[in-house]
Structures are given as structure tokens and as C-alpha cells.
């Protein structure tokens, strides 16, 4: 393949060709499929993607047009992204679990003519909204299964497209040369991908990122964390999410590391253990679930083992972070930590699949300080990262050795941050987006006149460390009637660290006091119930159980005590709480696809409950419509109890705030 590797690689296809030359025989991708880790080297991937691109070209994919990519993390879908980019077209990844409604919005908005999809499930979904997608011409699919009787005039398997392209390339040397020309013709400033935001606020917007900016951002962080072609990452987070595209796809192509795709979502945990990545990313929610599971599993251990486990976790809390940060630790501490490493932390990290992790990041939302400290204390080099789709997830990151759990670190290399008058964080960065797709008005809205992007997050630079601190969404930070600042997420996160609590929604803006609605964690509380002979038939029954209420009450009381200790927060202690009768669910629109709570929507949906929280009732009736897994709808109703909490005394000075 005539390609000059030393030329500036400012697009992903160019990087791919470069890697094929530099790291030709090194693994580029692995996929746990059919029981073993199928692997492809960089040169194999380059050859495959070229064939695929040639095939797509013959199907009619044109430069500059959009192609939807729908499905889970699978090599063929990543190759689809690469092949589309190779032709100078723009991939538009869509969340695999998006319902037909969301899917049709994105596909229609992005004007896609082609879609690369994973399987029958996605095809069925698209076909159900086909009338709204008049432009859609052709779908290529990965999994053949169940598609035999489908009308194949609009369907082709990727296998066929690749085979067809390969044959064409072999027969026609000019086609190869043409393809090389196409790769070279794509400029760094051309759009590289369109990522649709998850829509925490209103409908989703298509964020256009260019190749050059993406590559620059990725190059900066690859250098920052010293990632090399010897690293391995597990790609298990949605392919359509900026985090996956940046951390795995972009960094992978820049550094040449190997990206591994799990067998299925169910096996991601065991696949993680098998592959043992050296670079790892997890949103706080995943880390939290993992910790919950750790604690639950340990509950079933024998007394001695449990005692030992908790003793050494204590040791880790005392010394672990300091050892990781390279600070001084007494000899006894070092010895105990060493023993703990042999008995607990080492094996624990190993069973979780973290043994070989060199760099781990968390981002997406604020992480509870205790949760963060836990992973760091057992020796996992977990760091926080702050960003958003518009910034290609690249604004601040914590550098090794300077980690503070309540900050998200200093600005990344070449990023310029400014705090606006109203406390909103503004930035200008190498990775920033070039605009919203087909929406210049919104683009203009999101930018300051001098070219800074508004993040919508409220934050400030910590005086001591100079690191950025994010409190909440700028527009979410409210005020109690007495004027006390009320950051709901801060309170929610504090409660969510309890393994028994899965989700919290806090209210208090323009109210006299703070109240919360709680979702218990069915796994944790269920296992607790089993041990305590609490009989229950459903989530609803368990959530309403008096003993569960008692348990949650102690958690809330502890949270209040901790809030009272901080003079800024002493005024926002929780006065009343209830446990919701159903789990908040993305299918019901209560959570976003990235599992963030949609506070406004929930407030509307559960208005009667919120009213009851503030009018002093002891219980309230509610009935809600729910969507089942198969798409049917139903209604569940319940009588939800409400409990009052004691308020820890405010420190005298607290009133001043």
C-alpha cells in the first residue's frame, strides 16, 4: 500500500494506514466471539477496512454524506466507522439500546442514506419506522441470524460487502489507487464523525467533530498518560458515546493500542477479567455497581475472611492513597499495606480484572469521594476527567500524583478555561466541536462571541490546588427560599454511595427545605432481605417495607450529619424522604440513555409525590405508566410512605451563607 507514514496523519484513515506500517503485526482489535478472543493485527484491519470501504463505495456511499452505525461494541461496527471515514463520508453512531423513536429522530435528522447495523433486532427497529426515513436506501448488517426471509433488496451483509470490495480491489488496481487518493483527499478540517448528545436537556443535537481536532486531542492525552501500542483497552461502553469514541477509538488509532470488544453485555465483567486491560475507563455508576457487588459478595464470606477484608480495607483507607500518590507513610503502614496487597487488594483487583490497569479514568458525572477513594486506596490508579461531547470529552484531567477527589484536575494540555460571571465553565480546546449538525442557531447559542464553548456546568478553580471543581449543572443549582445554595447532585451523590441506594432525586429549589426520592438497589437490598428473612414478591413490596425504610433512614441521617459538618452545605440537610415504588428507567424516559436522572421529567411525572413531600402528609398514592421490556405499556400504582428526618443542628456561622 503506497502510503507515506511520515506525512501528518490528521484523520483516522491516515492513522490506520500509518499503524498498519508501524505496528503491522501487533494486535489492533480483539473480540470475544465464539468462545475465544478473535484477533486482528493492524495490517489485517487496514486490509479489511480498505476492502470494506471499496465495497461501500460500490454500494454507492459518497464523500460527505452520513452513514448511521447502530449496534454494540463489535469490530465490524468499528470497521464500519473506519471504512465510512476512509471514503470521506461521515459516520453517525447511534446507541444500540435506543428505542425506535430516538432512532428515527437521529437517522432522519442526519439524513442518512446508508446504515451499518449489528443484527436483526436493529433492523426490525429501523424497519418499524421506515416510513419516517424516506432517504434510507440500504442497510448492511453484521449478524445474519434470523434474516433469511427478509426482503434483501435493501439489505446486504457486511461479509458480502467486504468480500465484494476485496474482489474489486484485487481485480482493479485503479480502485486501490483511487482509494489511496480518497484517504489523502480527506482533510483534517473535514467532519470526521457526528455524535448525537444523549439529550439530558431536550432533544439531542448532532455534535460535529473534525478529524484533525479529534486526533490532536487524542494525541495530547496519549502523551499525557504515556499510552503506547503495548496497551490494551476494553471497549464496552456505548459506541455512540463520545467517551468510547475518544478513549478507545481515537486514542487507539493514535497510540496503536489494542482495543478488545466483549462477547456480550452480560459477559463484560468476565471478559474484563480475561483480557486484563492496561487502560480502563468506567463511569462512576459502573464503579459504584462494582463496589456494591463486591460488598454483597463479601457479605456471604465467612466471618474470619470478612473481618480480614474489612480490616485491610481500613488499612487501605489510611495509607493506600498516600502510597499511590508517593507521599510519606510510616513503615508499619507500608508493611500492613503490603500484607493487605497480598491478601486482599491484589486478588480483589485481579478478580475484578484490574491487575494490569496502568491508567484508569472515570467521568460522565461527579463521583462520590468515598467511592473514588476506595478504588484509589486499593491501588487502582483511577483519575477523574471532565469534559463533554462538544469538547470531545477533553477539558480537564487529573495528572498522576496530584489527585483530589473533589476536583476534576487542571486544564488539559492546550485547553483554555474561563469561568463566566454566573459561575459557568467556558473552554476553548484543540478537540472542540465545529458545530451542531444542521443547527447553526444552536451552535451560536452554545458559544461565546470570542469562541469559547459554554459547558452549562457551574464550577470554580480550587484556590489551594488550582484544579477545577464542578458543583452541578449551572441551571440545576437552585436556592432554598431562605437563599441557601442548593446543588441537588451533590446531595444525591452523597446518598448514592450507600450500596443499598441506587438512585436519588433531590428537590429543594424554591422550597423551604430539601427532600429526596430514593430508589433502593434491588441486588443489595434483596440480599440483605434474604439474610434478614424479609419476604417480598416484588421491587415494589420490598421498597415499601418498614424495615427497609428504617435502614434507609439511618443512611439519610448519616448523610445529614456529614452535610452538617460542611458549613456551605449545612443548610441543605434532608428533611423528608420517600422510597419510590418503581425503579427509574430509561425506557420510561426517567433516565437518559447514559443513565442520568432527568429531574424535570421526574418532577412532572411524580408531582403528587413531591406535593406530599412538602405538605406534611405521611403517605401518598401514585400511579404511573410503565413500559415493559417488550414494548407493552402498563400501569402500576402504589401508596408510598414518607418519613421525616431530624435535622442536625446548624453551626452558628452557617446562617451567614
Amino acid at each position: 500500500m503506497p502510503f507515506d507514514a511520515s506525512a501528518v496523519a490528521d484523520t483516522f484513515p491516515k492513522l490506520l494506514m500509518r499503524n498498519a506500517q508501524w505496528y503491522g503485526t501487533r494486535p489492533s482489535m480483539r473480540h470475544k466471539d465464539l468462545g475465544v478472543w478473535q484477533s486482528w493485527t493492524w495490517s489485517e484491519v487496514a486490509e479489511l477496512v480498505r476492502a470494506y470501504a471499496a465495497g461501500l463505495h460500490r454500494l454507492g456511499v459518497q464523500r460527505g454524506e452520513t452513514v448511521a452505525i447502530v449496534g454494540a461494541n463489535r469490530p465490524k461496527l468499528y470497521w464500519s466507522v473506519m471504512a465510512v471515514q476512509m471514503l470521506g463520508a461521515i459516520p453517525v453512531p447511534v446507541y444500540a439500546d435506543a428505542v425506535a423513536e430516538e432512532l428515527s429522530f437521529v437517522l432522519a435528522h442526519a439524513d442518512v442514506r446508508f446504515a451499518a447495523v449489528e443484527d436483526q433486532e436493529q433492523i426490525d427497529k429501523i424497519q418499524s419506522v421506515l416510513d419516517r426515513l424516506p432517504k434510507l436506501e440500504q442497510m448492511v448488517y453484521d449478524e445474519t441470524r434470523g434474516l433469511r426471509d427478509y426482503d434483501h433488496s435493501k439489505l446486504t451483509s457486511m461479509e458480502n460487502v467486504i468480500a465484494d470490495g476485496r474482489k474489486a480491489l484485487a481485480e482493479d488496481a485503479a480502485l486501490g489507487a483511487w482509494l489511496d487518493g480518497e484517504i489523502a483527499a480527506t482533510q483534517g478540517a473535514d467532519p470526521s464523525i457526528i455524535l448525537y448528545t444523549s439529550g439530558t436537556t431536550g432533544t439531542s443535537k448532532g455534535v460535529v467533530l473534525t478529524g484533525e481536532r479529534s486526533v490532536r486531542a487524542a494525541s495530547d492525552t496519549v502523551a499525557f498518560d504515556k499510552l503506547t501500542e503495548n496497551d490494551v483497552a476494553l471497549a464496552y461502553l456505548p459506541l455512540a458515546w463520545v467517551g468510547d469514541h475518544y478513549l478507545n477509538y481515537a486514542q487507539g488509532l493514535v497510540s496503536g493500542f489494542c482495543m478488545a470488544c466483549p462477547e456480550s453485555a452480560d459477559t463484560a465483567m468476565s471478559d474484563l477479567r480475561e483480557i486484563g486491560p492496561s487502560f480502563y475507563f468506567a463511569p462512576p455508576r459502573t464503579l459504584e455497581q462494582m463496589l456494591t457487588r463486591v460488598m454483597i459478595r463479601m457479605e456471604d464470606a465467612g466471618l474470619l475472611k470478612r473481618k480480614m477484608f474489612h480490616y485491610f480495607l481500613g488499612v487501605a483507607r489510611r495509607y493506600g492513597e498516600r502510597i499511590l500518590n508517593g507521599q510519606s507513610v510510616p513503615l508499619v503502614g507500608r508493611l500492613l499495606y503490603w500484607l493487605g496487597h497480598i491478601l486482599v487488594y491484589g486478588p480483589l483487583k485481579n478478580t475484578l480484572g484490574f491487575s494490569r490497569v496502568r491508567v484508569a479514568y472515570t467521568a460522565g458525572e461527579a463521583i462520590g469521594p468515598d467511592l473514588f477513594a476506595f478504588y484509589r486506596s486499593i491501588g487502582l490508579n483511577l483519575k477523574q476527567l471532565y469534559g463533554q461531547t462538544e469538547a470531545f470529552l477533553y477539558i480537564t484531567a487529573q495528572p498522576d500524583g496530584a489527585i483530589y477527589s473533589d476536583t476534576v484536575g487542571p486544564a488539559c494540555p492546550n485547553v483554555d478555561i474561563r469561568i463566566a460571571e454566573n459561575g459557568e465553565v467556558l473552554f476553548k480546546s484543540p478537540g472542540m466541536f465545529s458545530g451542531y449538525f444542521k443547527d447553526d442557531a444552536k451552535t451560536a447559542e452554545a458559544m461565546t462571541p470570542d469562541g469559547y464553548v459554554m459547558t452549562g456546568d457551574a464550577g470554580f478553580f480550587d484556590e489551594k490546588t488550582g484544579h477545577l471543581k464542578i458543583i452541578d449543572r449551572a441551571k440545576d443549582v437552585g436556592k432554598l427560599t431562605d437563599g441557601t445554595l442548593f446543588p441537588p447532585k451533590y446531595i444525591e451523590n452523597k446518598l448514592k454511595f450507600y450500596p443499598n441506594i441506587r438512585e436519588v432525586v433531590a428537590y429543594g429549589d424554591k422550597q423551604g427545605f430539601v427532600t429526596v426520592m430514593i430508589n433502593i438497589d434491588l441486588t443489595a437490598v434483596g440480599s440483605w432481605a434474604e439474610r434478614n428473612n424479609v419476604v417480598y414478591a416484588s421491587y415494589q413490596e420490598l421498597a415499601g417495607h418498614a424495615l427497609v425504610y428504617d435502614m434507609i433512614e439511618t443512611h439519610v441521617a448519616e448523610t445529614n450529619a456529614s452535610l452538617a459538618a460542611d458549613k456551605m452545605m449545612a443548610g441543605v440537610q434532608i428533611k423528608r424522604f420517600l422510597i419510590l415504588h418503581k425503579e427509574l428507567d430509561a425506557d420510561d424516559g426517567e433516565l437518559t440513555r447514559t443513565q442520568k436522572v432527568r429531574r424535570g421529567f421526574i418532577a412532572e411525572r411524580y408531582a403528587t409525590l413531591i406535593k406530599a413531600l412538602y405538605d406534611g402528609s405521611k403517605e401518598a398514592d401514585i400511579s404511573t405508566e410503565v413500559t415493559f421490556e417488550d414494548g407493552r405499556k402498563g400501569t402500576i400504582s402504589a401508596r408510598v410512605k414518607i418519613r421525616d428526618m431530624a435535622i442536625a443542628p446548624l453551626p452558628a456561622l452557617g446562617q451567614a451563607a
Partner: protein, 266 residues
């Protein structure tokens, strides 16, 4: 979407014909003078109340019982006597009403065992376990993995089947039968004891097997809804006697069936 009784059925020849078959144990008649045929590529259901002789019929088809009267023609060959393992060689696989897995083995080994007939490397190579024997093992492992993938049982690959819940055991058993790459698949109440969701999954798998591999399926099932949805044609037995035979709709309208079965059970 799939159309029951689609094009394949109309053109498909007869794969297996049962002619005037009778079977009795001691004095007890299990099956009396039953005839019906199974066409290539169809899903054929056998229904009937308890003790109607459905399972006996399957046992006759795959050679576990020898009928006293009548004959069976499979792939154009009429046979008088056949051992179960000849049936297996001829391309007949089956699952059982009460799961008959090898309980001491993992799911993977159970399904691999289904490939036994297709593996032929001799004792010498087996003793060495490299070269031809290993190649054969690997080749068949690949086929088995496709089945595992097909049935979505990846996460229980290494679990001893004895520890699996019932629904999954049934799936593994189906996997073992599929591993034989049969032409004719006999399923004895594949959905017995399953909840709604598991039943839906299993129905999906049966349709997919029929669709994807073109396997002819004979199935015994109690759930009338399932039978009507899945099958192309239905045979109804009652006390060992055939009382109706036809498409689900035809059968549903037959008075004898309504009396003997539908009227009682529903």
C-alpha cells in the same frame, strides 16, 4: 416475518412417513394404527391430552421402541428394525420431556458430545491429542460455538449442566441436538415448565432453527397458543389414535379435537 405453511412446505417432499403403526406394552395399547407424514422443512406438531401416545410416537420414530405393526419410511427407506443410534446416524435428533443431559459435564461438553458421530479420529490420535485429533477437536469446537452463539448461552459455557436452571438446561439440550446437524429434530415438550419469557425465547429458537438450518421439526407441546403459532401442520392423538391431521386452523375446527382436547384442557 415468517409465514407459517410457506413456500417450502408446499414443495417439500415427504421426509418421513408413519404408516399404520401400532405399539402396545403388555396389554396396554400406546399407539393404535396411526399414519401421518412429515414433509421436508416443516414444523409438525403432535398434540393430544396426557397419555395420548405422543412420546411413544417419538420413541418409535427414533427407534427406541419397535412398533408391533406398521412401518416407517425415512428418506425413502422403509425400515423394519432400527436401533436409536442408527436413527442418530440417519439424521434424527431429539430432546426429552424431562431434560436428559449429561449432568456431570459442562454445557460445552454436552454439546460437543452431540458431535460424536461426526468425529472420526481414531484412538491413536486421541491418545496423543495433537495433530489430527486436535484439529478435529478445534474444528468441531468452532461449530459448537456457533450453536452456543445461536442459543445465546455463552455465559454458561463452562457451567456443569446440573447447576443450571431448568430453562437453560432445555436450551443446552436443544444445542446438543442441533450439534448433530439433524435433518429431523424431535422435540418433546420443549417448553414444559417454562415461564412466558422463556417460552418466547424457545419459540424463537425453534423458528430460527427451522429457518436458519432448514431443519424439519416435530414437536410435542401442550401450550395450544404455541402450537398454533409455531407449527405448519398438526397431528392430534387421543388414546393412541389419530383423531385429526391438518393445518392449525383446520385442526382447531375439527369437532373431535374440540371434544377430546380443547374442550377439556381449556
Amino acid at each position: 416475518m415468517r409465514v407459517p405453511g410457506g413456500a417450502d412446505i408446499a414443495t417439500g417432499g415427504v421426509l418421513l412417513a408413519v404408516e399404520n403403526v401400532s405399539l402396545a406394552f403388555g396389554g396396554v395399547k400406546a399407539v393404535t394404527d396411526v399414519s401421518f407424514d412429515i414433509r421436508k422443512g416443516e414444523i409438525r406438531a403432535i398434540i393430544g391430552p396426557n397419555g395420548a401416545g405422543k412420546t411413544s410416537m417419538l420413541n418409535i420414530i427414533n427407534g427406541f421402541y419397535q412398533p408391533q405393526h406398521g412401518r416407517i419410511t425415512f428418506k425413502g427407506e422403509t425400515r423394519s428394525k432400527m436401533r436409536p443410534h442408527d436413527a442418530a446416524k440417519g439424521g434424527i435428533a431429539r430432546t426429552f420431556q424431562n431434560v436428559a443431559l449429561f449432568r456431570g459435564m459442562t454445557s460445552l461438553d454436552n454439546i460437543m458430545a452431540g458431535r460424536t458421530l461426526r468425529m472420526n479420529k481414531n484412538l491413536f490420535w486421541q491418545l496423543l491429542r495433537f495433530g489430527p485429533a486436535m484439529n478435529e477437536e478445534v474444528e468441531h469446537r468452532r461449530r459448537v460455538e456457533e450453536i452456543i452463539d445461536f442459543l445465546k448461552i455463552q455465559e454458561i459455557r463452562r457451567t456443569p449442566v446440573g447447576r443450571l436452571p431448568y430453562g437453560l438446561q432445555k436450551r443446552v439440550e436443544l444445542g446438543r441436538a442441533l450439534a448433530m446437524e439433524p435433518e429431523l429434530l424431535l422435540l418433546d415438550e420443549p417448553m414444559a415448565g417454562m415461564n412466558l419469557e422463556e417460552k418466547e425465547d424457545m419459540s424463537r429458537f425453534i423458528l430460527d432453527v427451522n429457518d436458519h438450518f432448514g431443519t424439519t421439526v416435530v414437536l410435542i407441546e401442550h401450550d395450544m397458543g404455541v402450537v398454533m403459532d409455531l407449527s405448519d401442520r398438526v397431528v392430534v392423538l387421543d388414546h393412541g389414535v389419530k383423531i385429526a391431521d391438518g393445518t392449525p386452523d383446520e385442526v382447531k375446527r375439527t369437532q373431535a379435537v374440540i371434544d377430546a382436547y380443547l374442550g377439556v384442557a381449556h
